[in-house]
């Protein structure tokens, strides 16, 4: 799967349609399909909400290789922001101290086997992998 999205929330529906088609064609299974949806949504919405307002398009690539789901998301014209270095959300705090921020990245880091980040020639590259079991 390869898609280039404009940096706007309205593109999320198109991304989900492409994810769904890819998952169906590749027989991804329930877990892989859920994780691919989540990875695309959480990273893409973070870029739209918090990325450079004058940044460029967002490219999403997904593949299944060697029994692994591989997801790569490239933000063109990005300020450096390494999601692998964000402190874990405090998910043990009592209700009154809980904040919703940071949960998306927290969940992805826990659910994926690997997440790597690189900032190259002004673009942010996030790569995630997950070994598929179903």
């Amino acid at each position: 799967m390869q898609a280039t999205l404009k940096r706007e929330m309205g593109e999320l529906a198109r991304a989900f349609r492409l994810v769904s088609k890819f998952a169906r064609e590749r027989g991804l299974g329930e877990t892989g399909t859920y994780l691919l949806n989540l990875a695309v949504e959480e990273i893409f919405t973070n870029i739209v909400k918090y990325g450079a307002p004058d940044g460029g398009d967002v490219s999403i690539r997904a593949d299944v290789a060697g029994g692994k789901l591989v997801v790569e998301i490239v933000e063109r014209g990005a300020e450096p922001f390494d999601p692998t270095q964000v402190p874990d959300a405090d998910v043990t705090a009592p209700l009154e101290d809980r904040r919703p921020g940071g949960l998306g990245l927290h969940m992805l880091r826990k659910l994926m086997d690997e997440m790597t980040y690189a900032h190259v020639n002004g673009d942010s590259h996030i790569r995630m992998t997950k070994r598929l079991e179903d």
Binding site: Y34, N37, R98
Partner: protein, 94 residues
Amino acid sequence: MFDFRIGDDGVVALSGRLDAAQVDRLREALGGVRASAVVDFGALEYISSAGLGVLLGVQKRLSEAGHRLTLVNLNHHIREIFRIAGFDNVFEIR
């Protein structure tokens, strides 16, 4: 497509896919809840952090008045999401 239905017994039943583009409809579903209530996830296929944020806000609002949401019939994937987010500490999940 995300949808919800509020039964005569007050149970809020969620269905479909709850992504970032649908959270306003979740706010609509839970905005009128003023006392302890059950939210039925039985027909919900997908939720992301956007939906979790709305649920957390509603639980905080209700808890200030001594009330709470109880979440039932979560599928395997959503239950795992809730565990990782630590929501099993702040919601009763059955």
